[in-house]
């Protein structure tokens, strides 16, 4: 079985701080990591490879530095890694990114494609389903458990608002996965060293036959108009006095607001 895992390198947003005076994002010293959801996607690929025979190829579209993310994936146990990198890809929105990924996947051929549910820098959760549509294959989102994989089908649990659905699909199919799916393995030191030396294939736009009008900032339907910081709440009250007094005040306020 040919398995492709799509990963993205992202700034570790949990470490991003805001300058309280200017309200600007401070990124100094914030490490770049593999999007946390994508670690679970890699793990899922590796586990399926262990169950049915096959190989796992990890791909990412990004700047040259995204190579480190691919090396981390190789250290976890992926068989192969490809970096889609080209100045012409820069500024791609989810539509253009999905188009590029789908063209690379077409070239590679795949039975199963696994993505994370969403990337923590943009939180769009769009690249998986859009890629599936470009490939004209089905997809299943929010996979929390993979119940069965055979040579030509999968059965999974898909998380919904009030529980979950059990969904079956023919192959090829694209899955987007949640964090409760599995526990990503940690690479051994030996695997890390080997991954450091591995050769990573680099593909540019010409290698995957993309239409240059559909990629990068030029091919992206959406535009960022501006960026701003959310306003802090203006109506803050830190209560004081003894706990008893504070609770009294709170109950009084709530009563005035007709909440009690």
């Amino acid at each position: 079985m040919k398995i492709i895992v799509c990963i993205k390198q992202v700034p570790d947003t949990t470490e991003v701080k805001i300058n309280p005076e200017t309200g600007i994002l401070l990124r100094e010293g914030v490490p770049s990591i593999i999007n946390p959801y994508d670690l679970h996607a890699i793990e899922a690929g590796l586990q399926i490879r262990e169950r049915v025979q096959g190989n796992v190829t990890v791909i990412t579209m990004g700047p040259p530095q995204a190579e480190t993310a691919l090396r981390d994936a190789l250290a976890m146990g992926a068989d192969d890694a490809i970096l889609l990198t080209d100045k012409a890809f820069a500024g791609s929105d989810t539509w253009a990114t999905s188009y590029v990924l789908s063209m690379a996947i077409k070239k590679l051929g795949a039975d199963l494609i696994i993505c994370g549910k969403q990337a923590i820098d943009g939180d769009t959760a769009q690249v998986g389903p859009e890629t599936a549509e470009f490939l004209d294959i089905p997809h299943i989102s929010y996979v929390r458990k993979i119940e069965e994989v055979t040579e030509n089908s999968v059965r999974v649990q898909r998380m919904m608002d009030e529980g979950y659905d059990i969904v079956e699909s023919s192959l090829p199919v694209l899955l987007t996965v949640l964090r409760e799916l599995n526990e990503p393995r940690l690479p051994s030191l030996k695997a890390k060293i080997a991954a450091k030396k591995a050769v990573i294939k680099k593909w540019a736009s010409s290698d995957i036959n993309v239409d240059n009008n559909k990629i990068g900032i030029k091919g992206s339907p959406t535009r960022v108009k501006n960026i701003f910081t959310p306003e802090a709440r203006a109506d803050r009250i830190i209560l004081n006095g003894t706990l008893e007094e504070q609770v009294d005040k709170l109950a009084k306020e709530l009563r005035e607001l007709k909440c009690l």
């Binding site: 949990t14 991003v16 769009t124 979950y164 959406t222 609770v247 109950a251």
Partner: protein, 400 residues
């Protein structure tokens, strides 16, 4: 459009370097320089004290403006589960009505599954026209048939704006529709408005875990598509005798390769849906153990509310995932949100910051949760909450 540094203005102060989320700015020969890692996120534009970083307008796009004029009207996707309209649909009708009125166009809704009676309700909630298909294929949510039929309706009736709920259903199949139609899609918007000059939709959404907000445009493609975060927009107005038209859509030869075999509801001992509740009492790692939720439950029941949790509490296994609030849990917007023993990490805050009233109980006065709380009590929750419960009981006894 490309971001450039005006070398005449740049003084090499390096302020911009730390602001860039993508490490795309370097100093070259004493001046800032933007390299190929630039994602055009524009964070740097507002940082530069000299105003030396600029966005240059360029003719990069192949404008499809010729066909843009053919698109008219606002379409919402009316989500249903088990034949009942989902709550987010009423919010979509609210915001959709406002956008349609601003543009002076019709508001339509696409309803797959459910019944004609529900379709009529949508009209009373603000829609002028309903595209209704009750083929049994749509009874249960399934991405491919949903994406196919909605695409077909959009191609036929050409609305300029299409909005859907940022629910598990909307976030899963709407991207397929956008990919299919070759147009842009903005996820999880918290505000939508019209730029009257261009008729463009201004789509505001959080990025970087809610640390910053971005306004997104889709200037040269139609329709402009967005998913809208539940419980952020106000419901429309219900008018008992509003009239509208129902257009019956047939779904012939809609292919699908995935099959929903079963739908399982997860029962929690608290049945109230988080996204419906008026009051949410939420617990974090500060509870210390699973039993702490018993105390929160007592408070919640007293206030007629339900229980939420931070991810830390869920990860500890004290409470099930369906209670999780935040970036990777639910977005909630109750009248009162009481955060107990929750530090207020951005990933938690993005899920509850639009609550009407936020009350924080935390023993650490420096906890960031106090930055967004309307009322903050610094203290041990195991002392504060029993006092609060007693107080509420007193108040209730007096008023009854």
């Amino acid at each position: 459009m490309p971001i450039v540094v005006n070398l005449n203005k740049c003084k090499g102060c390096e302020e911009c370097i730390a602001s860039c989320p993508y490490d795309a700015i370097e100093i070259k020969e004493g001046k800032a320089s933007i390299n190929e890692y630039c994602n055009f996120c524009k964070t740097c534009l507002s940082v530069c004290p000299e105003g030396a970083i600029e966005e240059i307008e360029g003719k990069f796009f192949i404008p499809e403006t010729s066909s843009i004029g053919n698109y008219r009207g606002v379409l919402i996707f009316a989500e249903q589960r088990e034949d009942k309209i989902s709550p987010v649909t009423y919010e979509l009708l609210g915001v959709g009505r406002r956008l349609a009125d601003d543009l002076n166009v019709e508001l339509s809704a696409a309803l797959f599954g459910a019944s004609e009676k529900e379709a009529e309700e949508l009209i009373r909630w603000g829609a002028d026209k309903i595209y209704f298909c009750d083929d049994p294929v749509f009874k249960q949510f399934n991405d491919e048939p949903y994406a196919r039929l909605l695409s077909l309706i959009i191609e036929t009736y050409k609305p300029e704006i299409v909005i859907a709920g940022a629910t598990p259903i909307g976030r899963s199949f709407i991207p397929r529709v956008a990919a299919r139609l070759g147009t842009g899609l903005t996820a999880d918007c918290t505000s939508l408005s019209i730029d009257r000059e261009t008729r463009n939709l201004l789509q505001v959404r959080p990025a970087f875990g809610g640390n910053i907000m971005a306004t997104i445009l889709c200037p040269n493609h139609r329709p402009q598509m967005a998913t809208v975060r539940p419980r952020v927009m106000k419901r429309g107005e219900y008018k008992k005798d509003k009239k509208g038209e129902i257009i019956y859509i047939r779904a012939d030869n809609i292919p699908f390769r995935t099959k929903v075999i079963d739908t399982i509801k997860e029962v929690s001992n608290i049945t109230v849906n988080l996204q419906e509740a008026d009051v949410i009492v939420s617990g974090g790692r500060g509870l210390g153990n699973a039993k702490g939720f018993e105390l929160l439950k007592e408070l919640a029941v007293l206030l007629g509310g339900t229980i939420g949790a931070s991810r830390a509490a869920v990860d500890e296994g004290w409470i099930s995932y369906i209670h999780q609030v935040g970036q990777t849990g639910r977005t909630v917007c109750p009248k009162i949100y009481i955060a107990c023993g929750i530090s207020g990490a951005v990933q938690h805050i993005v899920g509850m910051q639009s609550s009407d009233i936020i009350i924080a109980i935390n023993k650490n006065p420096e906890a960031p949760i106090f930055n967004i709380a309307n009322y903050g009590i610094v203290g041990d929750l195991y002392e504060v909450i029993p006092l609060f419960i007693r107080k509420i009981k007193e108040v209730k006894a007096i008023s009854s």
